[in-house]
């Protein structure tokens, strides 16, 4: 689990003056780099069997803990399996779980937050207190309790993450909808006789998509980080599945055979950075007067 929470983006202020922008390439270099990293990993995940020289589960004890070589680009792990292959295959679990958890949590959270903001009064207050309760809960204890009660596995860990993940979307959604709710077009729509559901889902929510997209993009990285952390602790995947956090855990005592833990961790780093770069770029792009990063 990451030791820092992902805080929602600071809403951009209304500009006093338009700043002339620098060239696209210079402005968005990092975002493009981020997108490039992500495309690489997605391709790697899809094409994994084709681009890897060994099967990911091939136990080969005589060749255990070999250092980097031309046969094993990232060396071998404690069971003789090729680390490079397992790092590539690890992308599959990480990307899939990350997407699934964030998309589902975002959907649930956005809808709940938006409804609460629109309904107002005690409904909104109740939702805010509910999100408080969930966010106040130590996530590690929850994840371990769920694993102990329902068994260790990807699905159960994803459920534990979902429970903890939706509140931040609810809060952001709520604060965005609150801002929109006071705008003129909402009054106009109401005056024209449109029902609240229509106003909320067809008019308000689309206007909030911008910051939501930023949060989602950034959060994809953090979800992958959190899942890797839970796998590091022994929850998450069932062996022998290749997963980055679990691989770092297998190598954490192997100070002299550093490649076992270093490369999977580095993979996590690049993926999360990719999402961060991309998220920053999306934020910059969505806000044409952006002075905020």
């Amino acid at each position: 689990m990451s030791d820092a929470s992902a805080v929602s983006s600071v809403p951009a202020a209304a500009p006093a003056v338009v700043i002339r922008r620098k060239g696209f390439a210079r402005r968005y270099a990092l975002a493009v780099a981020g997108a490039g990293i992500l495309v690489f990993w997605m391709l790697a995940a899809v094409l994994a069997p084709l681009i890897t020289p060994y099967p990911p589960d091939a136990v080969d004890l005589p060749n255990r803990l070999l250092p980097i070589s031309t046969e094993h680009w990232f060396g071998t792990d404690a069971l003789g399996r090729d680390v490079f292959t397992r790092v590539i295959f690890g992308a599959r679990i990480s990307l899939v779980v990350g997407f699934a958890v964030v998309m589902i949590a975002a959907t649930i959270g956005t809808i709940l937050g938006a409804c609460a903001a629109f309904a107002g009064r005690w409904v909104e207050e109740a939702l805010m207190r509910l999100t408080d309760l969930v966010l106040a809960f130590p996530p590690i204890i929850l994840a371990m309790a769920i694993a102990a009660a329902m068994g260790i596995g990807v699905v159960n860990t994803a459920i534990a993450m979902l429970i903890v993940w939706w509140p931040k979307f609810a809060r952001l959604s709520r604060s965005l909808v609150l801002v929109e709710r006071s705008r003129d077009y909402v009054d106009a729509a109401r005056a024209s006789g449109f029902g609240p559901a229509y106003i909320l889902f067809r008019q308000i929510l689309p206007n909030t998509l911008g910051p939501m997209m930023v949060l989602i993009t950034l959060d994809l990285g953090y979800a992958i980080l959190a899942f890797a952390g839970l796998s590091f602790l022994g929850l998450g995947v069932v062996p022998p599945t290749a997963e980055w956090g679990a691989m770092v855990a297998e190598g954490r005592e192997l100070v002299e055979q550093w490649w076992v833990a270093t490369f999977p961790g580095f993979a996590i780093l690049t993926v999360v950075m990719g999402f961060n770069f991309l998220g920053d770029g999306v934020r910059d792009w969505l806000d044409p007067y952006a002075r905020s990063s």
Binding site: V10, G245, G265
Partner: protein, 337 residues
């Protein structure tokens, strides 16, 4: 306002208790039995012995009775007895909390001392090298998995280079100072043991850096964002037009207005540091609450888990309350009509 505060405080307490109730219920649906795990093999297979042990720990009482005992105990400051360590949970927490507080505070100060100037510089020299460097540094800090970063930092700076001392709060050979606060820096200073003070400070460096890395990233980005926000405003241009030097403008006008969202974020970050340093503490053998939490969860030590949940919930909720208050005061759009 007072009513609002009182109301929120009351809700905070209720929420924290609710959190413990949830933990209690979840922990009791788990098939594991902490008693069996604690006893040796012979004793664990002896039903009479096990029943006796459970009775001693009050585990034979019905669910609601046990939770009621926990609640009533809270009013006496009694958080229950830890099954794994065989002593009062309060004693455990008092023993381990200062280590976490010390580490988190140092990490927090570090991230502020580096992050804020970096963020200001990044905003002032926007899109130049400083900005890009700041961006990459903060992104690496935020993106690197803590458990991996801790491993790398320890292996490189202690194992290979020997620049920093190893795991633990003080060297293996040293005698700890008489415990007054539990904070090593304070206690060694009070005891006048300056050599040990330096050792303790040296031992704080690596784990603080690891712990600070993520917070550093957030603080840098937020400071930069807030500064950019204020730098573009009219009153800044006014101040410059009046002939004030750039330095004065940045520090007095721009920063003092930018500092507000930074403070709110910093508050949240500090609360987070206090409650979530499990990975760092484990790798650096730091005897703090994070490691205690993990052990309690592994051992299914329900009283300890509940006490930790209560503590974490209170810290989180109080910090949030303070942040919400300041936010409500400063940003009228976010409050309800």
């Amino acid at each position: 306002m007072i009513q609002y505060l009182a109301g929120r405080l009351l809700i905070t307490i209720v929420m924290a208790l609710l959190a413990t109730l949830v933990v209690f219920l979840v922990a009791n649906t788990v098939p594991g039995d902490p008693v069996l795990a604690f006893l040796g093999d012979v004793a664990a297979s002896n039903p009479a012995f096990v029943a006796d042990f459970r009775a001693k720990w009050g585990l034979d009482l019905p669910l609601w009775d046990r939770y009621w005992i926990f609640l009533t105990g809270l009013f006496h400051g009694d958080l229950g007895q830890s099954i794994a360590s065989q002593r009062a949970v309060m004693d455990d927490i008092v023993e381990y909390a200062p280590a976490t507080v010390e580490l988190s505070t140092i990490a927090f100060i570090l991230s502020l001392m580096v992050g804020v100037p970096l963020g200001i510089a990044a905003a002032v020299w926007r899109d130049r090298l400083v900005d890009h460097v700041a961006r990459v540094v903060s992104l690496i800090g935020v993106s690197a998995p803590t458990f991996w970063l801790a491993f790398i930092v320890l292996a490189v700076f202690y194992g290979q280079l020997g620049w920093a001392p190893g795991p633990g709060r003080i060297p293996s050979f040293a005698f700890p100072p008489d415990r007054v606060t539990g904070l090593m820096l304070v206690d060694t200073a009070l005891a006048g043991d300056w050599e040990l003070f330096h050792e303790a400070a040296a031992h704080l460096v690596l784990p603080a850096i690891v712990l600070a890395s993520a917070t550093l990233g957030l603080i840098t980005r937020t400071t930069r964002a807030a500064m950019l926000d204020t730098l573009g405003r009219d009153y800044i241009r006014m101040a410059r037009a009046k002939g004030l030097s750039r330095y004065v403008v940045i520090v007095t006008h721009a920063f003092s207005n930018a500092v507000i969202p930074v403070i709110t974020l910093a508050g949240l970050a500090y609360g987070n540091l206090l409650t979530g340093a499990v990975m760092t503490e484990t790798v650096f053998a730091w005897p703090g609450l994070g490691r205690y939490t993990f052990r309690a969860a592994v051992a299914l030590d329900v009283p300890a888990i509940m006490a930790i949940t209560l503590l974490v919930a209170i810290v989180y909720l109080v910090v949030n309350l303070l942040v919400d208050l300041s936010y409500a005061l400063l940003d009228p759009r976010a409050t309800r009509r």
